[in-house]
Each structure stands twice: as C-alpha cells, then as structure tokens.
Subunit: 285 residues, 2 copies
C-alpha cells in the first residue's frame, strides 16, 4: 500500500524551489559586485569582453577574487577562450567548485558538463533555468569581489530570467560592433536593461577599425562610429572602442585572454582604459 507517511521527508517541488532560492540568496550575499555582460545580438564579442574584463580586474588588484558565470547555455565559449576546454566541475563537501582559469579567475560553464564538443544543449526553457539556478545556488563561489555573468545573446526570456535571479546587479555592460544593423539591437538591449531596472554602465564597441598589418592603413570592416552614435541616442556612456586585431581572434582560439598575451596591442590598451572606467563606476555606486 502506498504510504503517505513515507513521503514526508521528500520536499515538494514548491518547497524545493524556495529552498533553492534561499541558497542562491545566501551564496550571492557573499559576492560584492555583480556585473552582467549582454548584447542585442550574438557574435559581437560578448564572451571576449567578459573573459578579458574578468582577467583585467584580477590583474589590476592581485587580492581581488573574480569569477565568471557563463550563462550562455547553448553556445558556451568562455572555457575555450580561457584555455579550460576539457576541464570538469568538481563537487566537494561545500558545493560545486568553479574551474580556475588564468589569474585565478573562477569559471562555471555548461561546457564543463557536456560530453563532447558536438553535443548541443537542446533544452526547453524551464530546464535551462533549472541549470542556472543550480549554478548560482550550488556552486561554492566563496566570497567574491566580482562575479561577471556572460548572458545569452539577445534580450529574450533566458536573459530576463537570469536577471530576475540576480536582483542586486551593479550594472550591465552592452557589447556591440560599429555597424548600423547592430545598433538597432543595442537599443533593444538598453531598453531591456532599463525595464529590468538594472543600471547600464555603458556600451563597449568591439571590432572597430582594423589597422592593416601589412600597410598600416585603417579599414573599417564593420562600418564606423556606430557605438558612439547609439550611446548618444540612448543617453548611455560609450565606455570604449576596441579595434579589430587578428591576434585577438588567435588568442581566443588558443585560450589566452589577449590582454595577457598582447598587452601592448592597441586593442589591449583600449581595453584596459575601459576597465578603469568600470572600476570607477563600481566604486561610485
């Protein structure tokens, strides 16, 4: 006979959810600053910015504890860009331990859980959110100075749900490229952040003018000045422009943040300038 009494120790789904939310709250209370990196569309360098920003924050102050949550569940790129492919998340007594990347930056990504590179995560929305909740609540993030969240591209329900789980975000950074086609989607991202009542730190324009390594002339591969235009139109700050540099792509492929591998490149110098602006914004919060 089915005995109800035996079920009394198994929490029901509602209880389980509220326990999980408590756990997230507890874990997140030990994180001083939370910054989300978003983009209206994919492929503009959102993960590149997250990886290099996290590394720069760690480089600028060796005592800082920095971690990345790669919340892009269907195309997680952070591990590859940090040379962490093939690593696995360890489960210890206090929770899941983030994988340590360059400069001690901790990384949690769906990529660490996938059996092979070919495996797509074809999950329905609710399952994805379950994974994000687990990442936030069951990872032993420890005390952190900065947690950067690499959100999925776009302003869809995934980004929405993740921001709802992290209500005390310091701010969001919006990554774009100079072309006009990208500008329309940046506007959506700004409106999205405002609707969510998250402060917008500003826009980073990636893939600005390329300096030809052969002749030194500038080539505006993806048009010009779109970042400044959209920042002005939307009343947000242009944090900086990062020029295209083939070495940036190679560094990502080889798993090293370009600010470490090519610190003297114009791309790295622009990048370190905008990191300073972000540090000031966090300080003045």
């Amino acid at each position: 006979m089915y005995d109800l009494a035996e079920q009394k120790d198994v929490p029901n789904p509602m209880e389980q959810r509220s326990q999980q939310m408590e756990l997230i709250k507890k874990r997140m209370s030990r994180v001083k600053h939370k910054i989300a990196v978003i983009s209206g569309k994919g492929g503009v360098g959102k993960s590149l910015v997250t990886v290099n920003l996290a590394t720069a924050l760690a480089v600028n102050d060796k005592d800082r504890k920095v971690a990345i949550l790669d919340a892009d569940l269907t195309g997680p790129c952070v591990p590859k860009m940090m040379g962490l492919k093939g690593q696995r998340l360890d489960v210890g007594p206090v929770g899941i331990a983030p994988v340590k990347g360059p400069e001690g930056v901790g990384v949690v990504s769906m990529d660490f859980l996938l059996p092979t590179d070919d495996s797509p995560v074809i999950w329905r929305g609710p399952l994805k959110m379950g994974a994000i909740r687990q990442f936030l609540g069951e990872v032993a993030w420890g005390p952190l100075d900065y947690l950067l969240v690499d959100l999925p591209p776009g302003t869809g329900d995934e980004s929405l749900s993740i921001l709802q789980l992290l209500p005390e975000m310091d701010g969001v950074i919006i990554v774009t490229i100079p072309s006009e086609v990208s500008q329309a989607v940046v506007k959506k991202a700004v409106t999205f952040a405002r609707k969510m009542e998250v402060p917008v730190f500003g826009v980073i324009e990636n893939m600005a003018g390329l300096v030809c390594p052969h002749c030194g002339e500038t080539i505006n591969v993806f048009s010009e000045g779109g970042g400044a235009r959209v920042a002005e139109e939307m009343g947000v700050e242009l944090l900086g422009s990062i020029p295209i540099d083939p070495r940036v792509s190679t560094d990502s492929d080889e798993g090293t943040p370009f600010i470490l591998r090519h610190p003297d490149s114009p791309a790295a110098k622009s990048f370190m300038g905008l990191v300073e602006k972000i540090e000031n914004k966090v300080k003045n919060k």
Copy 2:
C-alpha cells in the same frame, strides 16, 4: 449567472491549437522548398546569408517566388538588410501579406510589428512559439518556390520548436566564421540538425580573409580555414567561403543585398557560386 451555453462557440485552447496546426499544414503544402539557415552562435552572418540567398534565388530565375520568414524574434535584422525598415504587415481577406523586398522577395518579420527600434521582445518561450505559429499559419504565403527560414542563433529550444513545426524541410545551411571558437558551436549545430533528421546541405564560411583595400594584401581577421576543417571533421560539405568586405557591411546598413549592389565583388562571386550548389541540392533531393 455564468452561462456555459454561451461559451459553446468559443474553441478551447486545444482545439484552437489543432486548428492552427491544420492551417500551417495547408499553407506550407503550397511551398515547394523549405530551407533553414542556422548557426551555432550569433553574429556570423546568418541573416546576411538568408537575405542574399533569397535574393540570388529570385535573380537566377525571374519566375521563382521566394520568401523569407525571419524567425529571429529577439533580434530581427532581415528588414533592415533589405531596406524594409518601418514597413508594416497588411492584413487582407486571405491573411497577413508579406512585405515585398528587392527582387520581389516576400518578408515576414517580428520587426514589422514592433512599435519602435528600441522595443525589445521580452517574451517567454510559449508566446514566441505562438507568434511563429501565427506567422506560418496566418500569413498568405501563397504558392512559393522557396521559403527560407532565418532561425534564431544557437541550437536552443526556439530553433527546435520551429523545426518541429516545419517537418518537411529540404535542408539546413549552417553559417560560421573561420575562428576555432566558432567551430565548436558549428559542431553542435550539425549534431542538432541530425538529431532533428533534417538534411544538412553544408557549411558556409563567412568573414574569411579580408583583402586590404589599400595594399591588396590578405588579412585573416578571424583566423583561417576553420570552415573547411569543421566541414571535414563533421562529414558535411563546405558550400563556400565568403571573404570579408567592408562593402558587405555598408550594403546591409543601407538595406541592399550586396549581391545586387556589388555583383562584381569577390564576396558576391563566391556567394553566387554557393547558391548554384544549393540549387543543385534542392533539384537532386
């Protein structure tokens, strides 16, 4: 008093859904060939390929009827790239009429329904799928030779649900860029298409080597040869490589498919070559 009898003419949600599915089936039975364009990650030129492929198919045979469903609900770019920004969908007695673009290509996009450029579509999954079902079932597509579907980036549940609504897809085209970071996600896209039992027409490598307009030397902005490598590894065809050309970005910003504006450019020539391959694949289906 609440009168149940009064409700008898209102179909219940299940009936409504099955009526809608019938409508989709009927509309789609008049479409000869359906091709989906996907990418493992965003920003690789999926919409650019869709727009130029549709235009090329219409150019190559003036009697062909071609249309695009821009199924990227959160960052719809197709209207901007075809010079159709600000247009609206008209509703007539037979259904919603697609907006006509260059070469008579019909376009249906969420962008035509948004009040302003700034408006993000922050919809939950089920609402999005409702919109896609409406687009497929309630648009008067008419008899079509080709319907191209620009899927959302990634291999998430949105792409999954849309492919499930269109079971008799001729094939999918996977768009990528040469960098290694992109290759991992291409593999996911191939596996995804295979799991969905949709034939993979092949891979298009976008943003291959840039020829410096000043000195004529080639710059591999996003690494080199990734498309060929991933095609070989996954046992799919490399349909072609499209070099980076700043004019491609400008043409998109100005709303003209680059194969029309710059037909003599190396990018357009490569593109027309791969269109021929796709036409042959459809013919030999």
